[in-house]
Amino acid sequence: MDSTAPRFSAVGAGAALELRGVTRLFGALAALTDVTITVRPGERRAVLGSNGAGKTTLFNCVTGDFPPSSGTIRFFGEDITHFPPYERIRRGLRRTYQISALFPGLTVRDNIYLACRGVSRGRFSPLRPGANDALMHATEALIQAVHLTPLREQRVAELAHGQQRQLEIALALAGAPRFILFDEPAAGLSPTERRELIDILTSLPAHIGYIIIEHDMDVALRVVESVTMMHNGRVFKEGLPHEIEADPEVQELYLGAGHE
């Protein structure tokens, strides 16, 4: 653990994301209890844990979908605990959803255009984009990057599941993300699509850090450098992928069934 100790004790303005004592209660149920996590800029981390471990609740607290009951969240040094979601997103935070959260009535291009527009000025503009609109170029580039070019005029409701998952990721890559939360991006993907997903994740620019929730260990451990193991709403263990994989307690808790 010695070699990893400094990595996990990074504090203050140096951290991309810093959670201190974050607790979230739903009535009497504590979905998160005193969670303290620090992630460096550019760091890629997996959050593992069984269903109900609090992984998605953690994401919801970070993005502000609902606020934590107590504790503080800092994003690149700034206290964002009480910010509405859109203020966090405008500061470079992004997320994807476990169940695709898209705009089914709009085309692929309009979906991605909205993502680009959301993190730039002119969200209320009543004027259609001009002939040389920079966001239109950015939109087309992003469509190409996630291999959806042939489908860009299709309504999202007509896309296959795998294509919707690709679009889900594309929405999180718009603008200039600094840190992304991926909530089970591989859910329901075919083996080929999983390989494409790994390609996309590993080819992200090095300064973009992320946290990924992923049950598929083959995906998760290939695209991260550190792992946080959660159990019953608490941080159970932190370490390098191979350490976590080899940890007997973790195996008993989580990896047991799948990796025997």
């Binding site: 859109y86 089914p104 969200r123 580039a141």
Partner: protein, 360 residues
Amino acid sequence: MSLLQGAHPQTSQPAEARAALLAWPEFNKPAVWLVAVILLIMPFIANGFFLIEIFATTLILGTVALSLMFLAGYGGMVSLMQLTVAGFAAYMVAVFGMSANTNISLGWPWWLATPMALILATVFGTLGGALAVRTEGIYTIMITLAIGAAFYYFTNQNWPIFGGHTGINTIATPRFWGIDWRSDIPFYYVTLGVAAFCYFAVQYVSRAPFGLALQGVRDNPRRMAALGFNVNAHRVAAYAFAAFIAALGGVLQVWNYRQISPGSVSVGACIDILIIAVVGGITRPIGPFIGAFIFVILRTFALDLLVKLGLDGNRFRLLIGLGFLAIVFWSSDGVIGLWERWRRGAAAVDKRAGGGHGHG
């Protein structure tokens, strides 16, 4: 390939895409030009009764219903107070302008009273919207209906400003350049101009960032917030835009009848606007105008028809109600939806017939 770094247009596709986004697809259809020409030469075809009682009335009701279509179709917010906003604008024209009720009307010239009415009605609609966006679905309908009902009873009981249940009568209409703009032909062109302006404004905005974002809010408000949008601010802005359109319709309405009374802003009238929008179809700006045309035709002629059948002429609402039921039952997207389904069906038959012929 590297993600996020290929921000340069590599093919001609972006240019194509921009062209598609910029284009007005409506202008490529001959039917649209035909309708436009017919509307423009209408005064040479129709007499004064048809021009005002049918076509101008259709355009006015269509404009008010268009504001509901914008909110419901693009924003997913069913507001029953759009006629109330229009009625508020109408009252303000009467209050600030000139009328027979000299103890109420301030006697401003029309070019001052009208912008004032538009501004105040837009503020009124925006404030109502700011209340309504705190709710979703059925509760939005309830709160906007409550605003409409409250305004109706308020106008009934308030004498100093709203003239109580008798309302305000003999309201002055614009006259300038030597033209009485309330005489049949000029007024028809005024309503046509305003309706066309509103129609194209809604059509245009629907493809601009503001309108696209509103459709995003309709489809998935939570994700819109996670993309950086302030969802409630967007909804309130949509109410403001819709309120301005409804207010334009209200100004035309008060110029048309030259009087305004609580009966014009009753709950029944609010619901008529909903019926017009739903019957026409709320997915496209043309829907409310089609719905308004059907509504006005039924309201005007169903009476004679019913009397001929030996029924009470006042039962025209029964016909409208039955038509409403039938359309909602057969097509969730009003008359437009029926028309599109019929066209798709015809296209499919063509294809099959064509394919069969090829193989034969």
